[in-house]
Amino acid sequence: MNELLLVVTIAGERVALSAAAVESVVELESLIPVPRAAPHVAGLSALRSRVLTVIDCMRSLELGDTDCSDGIREAAVVELDGHHYALIVDLVEDVVEARSEPLPVRAAMGEGWERVSQGMVETDEGPLLLVDVASLVAGVEAKAAA
């Protein structure tokens, strides 16, 4: 049984998240901003009676802002240390099976990607970058402290 991967698009790039880490995929409707929080914290949203901390993946990767003005955004819900987060992505595509263990990417990636990368996995759809959910949630530590 190979690991299942959720294929999502962040900043126009197709990447994979470990499907085991993702609880569900939701469409966020309302977003309540959290003033003075780290830039990658887009705000709070409610999923049923749970409060979700919404993470803007593009900002977490320092690749610009996700445009949230049109209202509904797709997001992957993950749980980390008892807190629930919604990761805003451009698009949630599919679930695929990993065909290999993560392998190191030897070419130089963008700085943001480098930080969240867990390596490259082979799938039926070709190689994909496996992204570490915890690193996405943590964002840029230095900036969060500022």
Partner: protein, 778 residues
């Protein structure tokens, strides 16, 4: 197998906890068969299980204890202190072993044979106990209700499902309202609603635990302390059936233990000393719990040597905790409160029991962290009383919702001291080098704008904002300006994600009724981020305690439904707090209804004897600064303000007039009349003179002003330039020139023949004086 062991460990732990109190009680009364039986049952169960699990050491220990106890049960042997100590030692060893099994560690070392030998009749080596501790009848043996063990996680899941259900119901309710209403459907929905409400209540209760679980270990702890210190202490426990959130019980366990250790170690004297001081040889340590509103009060009272305020101050001076000038101005209470400052221990010598670095400052900060308060009161030579006030649960916090630029935030009510308008009558707002300074009734308070702190653009002009005067736990006050104030709500607070907490501004998140998230602000955090310097508690310039003055035309009132169904309003400032009392505490005595609240008996208004029904009555506790009365009511409707004119009643009575409040007429309760009728007759010869100028004289603003207005006067503040026909002041107070002056005194009898002042509850006299001034002008 692992599951079975886990069950065995859990069962042992539960029994061990319950046993702590039993054993000590058994020692005091060796003939008490019921207690003996329950101890016997414990060792017997352990023995049985050990054989099954192959724990030979545990088995040998429990077997030996069982044998000894069986002898006692069969009257072959008498339970003497030596035997009790030996059994205790064995139970301690068993509990150590159980803990080791649970943690998956090696069994603790030590020679079990010595313990087993100590059980034999006539054995020596185990010290005879010095102290006797007795628990009153509240801790009963063996009649526990049937229970099962559940994981808290499962309960939380059920709880969150119920919350979802409530949200779903709300949505359904909205849809139903929008569509054509169908009576049977509405009826069915109502029923569903009430079932859901009931269920939510029950689920919330599952998180509650009797505080007994916290108290049950105390007698044993005190007994051991006594043995160590050579003291004799009787523990008196009361109120073990009060229920408290499970997590809360864990949070107060350490502070409570610390306070009790202190009481036994430093408070209660050695028997010889006590006899010399003319007290009984045995000290009494009373621990009691009771519920008051949404708080739990835990009292720890000892009859020991008490705390000498002067010594505390000396110590604080020598440790540099306070300055010399401050020291001279401290009240007795403030002096005692110094024990909660870091770096103070009044004990002469540091002992092994207490005073080992973990001080009262840690106790205070632990209690304050969960939104509680700890207070101390003490009389030298008579004893010390510590009171812990903690909220009922960690998760439900009364809060005020405010908004900035359309976004809602919540502020915990416990930190709010008062709310004023930025452009109110006695409030001015200035900027010094960019820093905000608000002057509220002559008091300068640092001001910060929530909009600035949050980096939001406020659409409301600075002068139109509201100022919330906040006092973060243990700190000084500051004013926070917000755009709008919305509602008072009880919010279910959940911790926020680390990335949100990292801002230092928030205490958690919560969901509003419509299901959208709200951030709960942390008042201390706002101050820190806003750059407000919160000095160590400002001691000399405290705000006068008690009701807040009404400072503008928009008088805040509490809207409620009275027992006879009327919609009424009381000025918020005269309401001290809301209490719930058992109907049995209300008695007709000395010509009027009176209610017993704790140790005081107050006159009760707002009800006739026939209207008091049911088990419980809710009442407002009204306070005019020197007297209190109770006012019974059915339910609180809302907080509101009087913004419309008041139509005054023709006849003086409980209701002074009618005004539109929140769009509907409401009767205004005349607090002056209430006090005049219910406490006016009481003699108060030893009453202190009250000298305040009318502008910030709370009593005059809230009680007298309606009366004067009803008599046809326009009331202006004493700083007003208008030429006054009449000035009213407390007796002995200086007043600006006016055509007439009425002085009020607070004692019924005039001080002498030349005293022309009027007793402040002499309603007829006051009205007469008001009329005669009005008449003289015509």
């Amino acid at each position: 197998m692992d599951d079975l062991i886990a069950d065995f460990v859990a069962e042992c732990r539960e029994m061990l906890e319950a046993l702590g109190g039993e054993i000590v009680a058994w020692e005091a009364q060796p003939d008490d068969r019921a207690r003996l039986d329950s101890i016997f049952r414990f060792v017997h169960t352990v023995k049985g299980n050990c054989g099954f699990f192959d724990f030979p050491r545990l088995e040998a220990l429990s077997h030996a204890a069982e044998d000894a106890l069986a002898d006692v049960r069969a009257n072959r042997r008498h339970a003497d202190p030596a035997l009790v100590s030996a059994v205790l030692a064995i139970i301690d060893r068993i509990s150590e072993m159980v803990a080791a099994i649970e943690a998956g560690e090696e069994m603790p070392g030590g020679d079990d044979m010595a313990l087993i030998h100590a059980l034999e009749p006539g054995a020596e080596g185990v010290a005879a106990p010095v102290a006797a501790a007795v628990v009153d009848g509240t801790i009963k043996s063996s009649s526990a209700p049937r229970t099962i063990r559940l994981s808290v996680e499962l309960l939380d899941r059920v709880m969150s499902t119920v919350s979802d259900m409530v949200l779903a119901r709300n949505e359904l309710a909205r849809r139903l309202r929008e569509s054509e209403s169908d009576v049977p459907v509405d009826g069915a929905f109502e029923r569903l609603s009430s079932i859901i409400a009931e269920m939510r209540d029950a689920i919330t209760r599952t998180r509650m635990q009797r505080i007994e679980n916290l108290f049950v270990g105390l007698p044993r702890m005190v007994r051991d302390l006594c043995a160590e210190l050579g003291k004799q202490v009787l523990v008196d426990i009361e109120g073990g059936d009060v229920e408290l959130d499970r997590e809360m019980i864990e949070m107060i366990r350490d502070p409570l233990t610390h306070i009790i250790r202190n009481a036994v170690d430093h408070g209660i004297e050695k028997p010889a000393e006590r006899l010399k001081a003319g007290k009984r040889e045995i000290g009494v340590l009373a621990v009691s719990a009771r519920q008051s509103g949404n708080q739990i009060l835990i009292d720890i009272h000892d009859d020991g040597r008490g705390i000498d305020g002067k010594k505390v101050v000396e110590k604080a001076l020598s440790n540099g905790v306070i300055s010399k000038e401050d020291a001279t101005q401290l009240s007795h209470r403030d002096q005692l409160a110094l024990i909660f400052e870091a770096g103070l221990s009044t004990a002469q010598a540091v002992t092994a029991i207490s005073g080992r670095g973990v001080g009262m400052d840690v106790v205070r900060s632990n209690i304050e962290r969960i939104g509680g308060i700890v207070e101390v009161d003490s009389k030298v030579g008579e004893g010390t009383r510590m009171t812990l006030r903690v909220p009922l649960t960690l998760t439900i916090i009364p809060a005020l919702t405010v908004s900035i630029a359309g976004q809602h935030f919540a502020i915990p009510r416990s930190a709010i001291e008062e709310i004023v308008r930025a452009n109110g009558e006695s409030v001015t707002l200035e900027h010094l080098g960019g820093a905000g300074v608000a002057t509220i009734r002559g008091r300068r308070v640092p001001e910060v704008s929530l909009a600035t702190i949050l980096g939001l653009d406020s659409t409301v002009d600075e002068q139109d904002r509201r100022l919330i005067v906040l006092r973060p736990a243990g700190g000084d006050v500051y004013a926070l300006s917000v755009d709008r104030i919305h509602d008072h709500e009880e919010l279910v607070v959940k911790p926020a994600a680390p990335a949100v907490m990292a801002t230092g501004l928030y205490a958690g998140t919560t969901l509003a009724d419509d299901g959208s998230p709200i951030l709960l602000m942390d008042p201390a955090g706002i101050a820190a981020v806003g750059g407000v310097k919160l000095e160590v508690q400002e001691r000399t310039a405290r705000i006068a305690e008690g009701p807040t003055a009404a400072i503008s035309k928009a008088t805040p009132v509490l809207l409620f439904r009275s027992l006879d169904g009327g919609r009424r309003a009381l000025r918020l400032a005269v309401v001290d707090r809301i209490e719930e009392v058992a109907t049995s505490n209300i008695k007709k005595a000395a010509g009027q209804l009176r209610v017993q609240l704790g140790e005081s008996i107050l006159p009760l208004a707002g009800a006739t004897a026939s209207e008091i029904a049911g088990d419980k009555v809710r009442l407002f506790r009204l306070n005019d600064g020197s007297h209190e009365i109770g006012y019974a009511f059915a339910e609180v409707v809302d907080f509101a303000t009087i913004e419309h004119d008041i139509i005054h009643a023709d006849q003086p009575g409980e209701v002074s007039g009618v005004s539109l409040i929140s769009g509907e007429p409401a009767e205004l309760v005349d607090a002056h009349w209430l006090f005049a009728n219910h406490v006016g007759a009481m003699p108060q010869a030893s009453e202190q003179m009250i000298c305040r100028i009318p502008r910030d004289d709370t009593w005059m603003q809230n009680m007298l002003r309606p009366l004067v207005e009803a008599a046809g006067y326009r009331v202006v503040s004493d700083e007003s330039e208008d030429k006054a026909d009449l000035a009213i002041a407390a007796k002995g107070e200086k007043v600006a020139a006016a055509a007439h002056t009425i002085f009020l005194r607070s004692e019924p009898e005039p001080a002498g023949k030349k005293d022309e002042s009027i007793y402040r509850y002499d309603r007829a006299g006051l009205l007469m004086a008001l009329k005669s001034v009005a008449g003289a002008r015509k």
